[in-house]
Amino acid sequence: MKLSKEIHKELYLKMNQTREFEETAARLFVEGKVHGTAHFCIGEEATGVGVCSALEVEDYILQTHRGHNQGIGKNMDINKMMAEFRGKATGYCKGKGGCMHIADFSVGSLGANGVVGGGLPIATGAALKQKYNKEKNITVCFFGDGASNEGAFHESLNLASVWKLPVLFVCTNNLYGMSTPVSKSMNIEDISIRAASYGIKGIALDGNDVVNIYEETLKAKEYILENGPMLMVLNTYRWMGHSKSDAQIYRTKDEVKEWKEKCPIKQHKKFILENKIMTEDELVAIGKQAVEDIEKAVEFAENSPEPRIEDIFDDVYA
């Protein structure tokens, strides 16, 4: 499979937008402009961007609490994401959800989740609806290595398997559940072997190789529509702490440094230049565009109104 220049452009732009979004978000914390918390996916950009860019708008995704890459990958509006992060009335959740709950039903995002593993059962339902209506689309459920130890993981993979539901279960293995390393939370090294327990296919990929992730997602979709659910494990690394309040005493600086060498954006850049898909100048221009997009989003959020207490009961009930 040879991806078009357009696709490479899209992937490279979205990964840069994600990186810029998060670095800016981290800065806003330091400036005291944000109330609450955020979970950054810097270093994991290729996972959400690679998978979601290969989907159609009618394919659903369930996002995680660390899911800005997934949202940007699925073409969510960055202005509304930033406004929600700032708790503004113009945000995706009218300032009531924060970035742990961003959702955009119009592009197929059924929401990020604050509960580890919380999206897995919901994904089976969205896929059941797709199957019931004989749609040619799938539901992609993102979750982390930590969630694969939750009951929701086992129940959902089992249900999806016995009902042959069109779900792609995407496990972003970033090696830590908050501070606890994977080696202390499970007795296996390759999470994808868990698929065998449910009689479904499981694969493990380099989670920092956006091109391969994109291609494998296209193949997975085809496989799933024919055969039922599949588990895809993307092995990657979380550069930042778990959340803004993490002093990271549980890992070494060398380990972080080693993973930074494997930066997904750098890898993609190298691939593009080596294969002469774009020039250095073109890539610099894309990087610049990402910075401008995020600057605009920050401005949009800054100038947006706060939500009003008068509207607090809106949307508790339909």
Binding site: G95, K129, E155
Partner: protein
């Protein structure tokens, strides 16, 4: 009017709605050919087939989340949880996901699902199959909570619940499944709106506010008092959320004496909420005696039949409470 059982009424409500709404599906454990643990769904698998009547593995968390996900994306769903005690296994998806999604997503999507589950003691099934957990779910904004006490209410309220665009927890009463009562003929439009209490017996001297299985018991006690000229009004709230406060308050004003009765453990039970509705309103100024509350004992439901019968409000305890008020 014809008489059918509470279980048949629930079956009719689901079947009529499934005939009317092709996007309505029903899932649960052993609800297909087997017809459900209490036989409520008998015949539905034969009529609607395996695509709409989905037998599930024993997997309450996944069933509940699956229903929420299907409902968020365009289907309508009914879930049967075999015993309401097993809502404990489904609670994460019910309370954190189904109940909150619309609010936390800024009004995007809705979750039109009904979670049906039988509760209550009296079957000798002991502590893990006999609880009355309505207060837990009534405490979560985003959920509606219904507990019908008669076959007619069960049918009309379930049809309304299925047509509601919110997650509704529909708590059935195991001991009422075989009880018969008058129900209107097969009719698509027999709907009882949520949020309307029903005065099951009119009276002027004392108000009993109750729901579920305790309604019939309170009516029986009221009939005994009527022989002595004391007329008790029995108010069946029917839906805990939304709650018809006006009917409670106006009955309390009329009689000036209020007793709240429910089977669930008294401490932290929904009775405390019902008492508060009365005493925080202007009905307070009409009260001739302190409002009384009678719930189950604060113990797990025991196995022995003699003990089991005595840990929930009995006719004797209700009678004694009324005498205290008089």
């Amino acid at each position: 009017m014809r008489e059918i059982t509470y279980a048949q009424a629930i079956n009719e409500a689901m079947s009529e709605e499934m005939r009317r709404e092709k996007n309505l599906i029903f899932m649960g454990e052993d609800i297909g050919l087997y017809g459900g643990a209490f036989g409520v769904s008998k015949g539905m698998f034969e009529e609607f087939g395996p695509e709409r009547i989905l037998d599930t593995p024993i997997t309450e968390l996944a069933i509940t989340g699956c229903a929420a996900g299907a409902s968020m994306t365009g289907l309508r769903t009914i879930v049967e949880i075999m015993f309401s005690d097993f809502m404990t296994l489904a609670m994460e998806q019910l309370a954190n996901q189904a109940a909150k999604n619309r609010f936390q997503f800024g009004g995007q999507g809705s979750v039109p699902m009904v979670l049906r589950a039988p509760g209550g003691s009296g079957t000798g099934a002991a502590a893990q199959h006999s609880q009355s957990l309505e207060a837990w779910v009534a405490h979560v904004p985003g959920l509606k909570v219904v507990i019908p006490s008669t076959p007619a209410d069960a049918k009309g309220l379930l049809k309304a619940s299925i047509r509601d665009d919110n997650p509704v927890v529909f708590l059935e009463q195991k001991l009422l499944y075989r009880v018969k009562g008058e129900v209107p003929d097969l009719d698509e439009d027999f709907i009882i709106p949520l949020g309307k209490a029903d005065i099951k017996r009119e009276g002027k001297d004392v108000t009993i506010i109750t729901y579920g299985r305790m309604v019939q018991r309170c009516i029986k006690v009221a009939e005994e008092f009527a022989k002595d000229g004391v007329e008790i009004e029995v108010v069946d709230i029917r839906t805990l959320v939304p709650l018809d406060k006006e009917t409670l308050i106006s009955s309390a004003k009329k009689t000036g004496k209020v007793l709240v009765v429910h089977e669930a453990c008294q401490t932290g039970g929904f009775g405390g909420e019902l008492v508060s509705v009365v005493v925080e309103s202007d009905a307070f100024f009409y009260l001739d005696a302190p409002v009384k509350r009678l719930g189950g004992l604060d113990v797990p439901i025991p196995y022995n039949p003699g003990l089991e019968a005595l840990v929930v409000p009995t006719e004797e305890k209700i009678t004694a409470a009324i005498k205290d008020l008089l």
